[in-house]
Amino acid sequence: MTTQTPARTVPAPSRPAPPARRPRRRGNRSPFHPATWTPAVAVLLLLGAAWTAVAAEHPYILPELGEVGTALVTSPLVFLENAWRTLRIALLGALIGAGSAFVLALVMSEIPVVRRALMPFAVVLNVTPVVALAPPLVVAFGFGMTPKVVVTAIITFFPVLINVATGLRSVPPPVLHVFETLHASRLEVLLRLRIPSSLPYTLAALRVVLPLSIVGAVVAEFVTAGSSGGLGTVISNAASTARLDFVYSAIFCLAALGVLLLALVTAIEHRLLFWHESQRRASS
């Protein structure tokens, strides 16, 4: 009985309080929140409409989107098989290019003379459009897989070399001093300190270089078109017979490959760089 009295004295709220709407911080929103994806979807629809308008007016500039879809759906194997060929070349080239760049960066960090001898050339070659090497490389290595792999390897080589070389030197002096007072060997400093410190730089290079490797593969395929497969060959063959639906289908496949590789690097970064500032925002 008595317990009920205080409840009565408390004035009942005249109406239920509105549900607390907490102001969400920008950037903290989930990717599924409409506010996150609506702008991009709006732009996508706009682009689709513009594309359709142009395609209706000038069929020799753009194919109908429907035709592109039909091409993809009716002959998926053609695209899958050729995408796989391009991807294989891109990855093999990137593996060879980035791998040898990593090793050379290690050598340069340990032997200053090598660094001083090679770094200027690496810097110059890094800003040279080395894709232009594709035609002479085809002349040199014939029409097989070799020239394509070589082109992608060369394209990926210099950005990785420069980034890793920088990363290996990015150790804060105090940490190096701690290793020095422990009398750590050069190998220990390299393995336990320099290489882990360089990982953010290495992965930043891969983020640039893996999509680039597809560029390399496609350009090499353009040059050797007709004699071998790959999406580059599909594009140049289809373009010469004015099959724009095939051209754009292949381009969509290339975009998908690029996104795939980027997602791969992002996943690796998330795994390996959980400790680095670059991942802090994303994980919180």
Partner: protein
């Protein structure tokens, strides 16, 4: 001022001293007429706790790095317990706590503390158990955390635990508590003293805080800047172990005043920094 300001270590053999004699160091590109260290001589007896204090740029960090064998010098000599600093490092007998915690961000706290045991195994120096060390600095629960998940003070404690890990004969600390609030600082100071007493190592401790120097040290080395010289060595004759009561006692304050006065005359003895402009 005595031409040869040293402390109680004068009668001891070199094997019981960190001994710096007439050491002069000029950095490449530095002004040769005002060396970073100018004919610095000092003896630090084994098991003593010695603080270096002095105006910014007087060469405290440089002197610390010389003792750690990390820095070359122009003339004079530096020996640690009768051998070279480098030989001490090869034996993993030197613990260094730099001004920034200098932890490896990709290793968790426990592995960071175990690092000295992983590196340079040839020295064959057995170390403390990482978990014991963690408990000693009051971080028993945090062994699995990564440095970025710790506060600045916790990171600094990890760095101290790491340095203590090899039971070093010499512990060199460069302003380890400078970034902490006063209370955290005080509790860490007492923690450090407890560890030092337990492990019986020799500590050279750089600080800007008079109070900190007095709380911790057996001797306080006051330095003056441009050129970097030793101005005065002040013995701190306060009993040990030091606790909060003593830290707040009048004797303590009297000692602080003496150090402050010495610091002031050191400031006047040195040339003013070039980059300080009177407003």
């Amino acid at each position: 001022m005595t031409p040869f300001p040293t402390n109680s270590g004068e009668s001891r053999p070199a094997s019981d001293l960190i001994r710096v004699r007439d050491l002069t160091k000029t950095y490449a590109g530095g002004d040769p007429s005002r060396p970073a260290l100018d004919r610095v001589s000092i003896d630090i007896p084994r098991r003593h706790f010695v603080s270096l204090i002095g105006p910014s740029g007087c060469g405290k960090s440089t002197l610390l790095r010389v003792i750690a064998g990390l820095e070359g010098y122009d003339s004079g000599e530096a020996t640690v317990f009768g051998t070279s600093p480098k030989a001490m490092c090869a034996n993993k007998a030197v613990g260094l706590v730099p001004q920034t915690p200098a932890l490896l961000p990709w290793k968790n706290v426990r592995r960071n503390i175990a690092l000295p045991q992983k590196v340079n195994r040839r020295a064959g120096r057995g170390g403390e158990d990482p978990d014991d060390l963690l408990r000693m600095v009051g971080l028993g629960e945090l062994g699995h955390r990564y440095p970025h998940e710790l506060s600045g003070g916790q990171q600094q404690r990890v760095a101290i635990a790491r340095a203590f890990g090899m039971r070093p004969e010499v512990l060199l600390m460069d302003e380890p508590f400078s970034a902490l609030d006063e209370f955290t600082r005080e509790s860490l100071q007492l923690q450090l003293l407890a560890m030092w007493e337990r492990m019986a190592t020799t500590v050279v401790f750089v600080t800007h805080s008079v109070r900190e120097a007095v709380t911790l040290s057996d001797e306080i080395v006051v330095m003056s800047a441009r050129p970097g010289r030793i101005h005065e060595v002040l013995p701190v004759d306060l009993p040990r172990p030091r606790d909060t009561a003593l830290v707040n006692s009048p004797r303590m304050h009297a000692m602080e005043d003496r150090v402050r006065a010495s610091l002031e005359s050191a400031w006047q003895a040195g040339a003013a920094p070039d980059d300080l402009v009177a407003l």
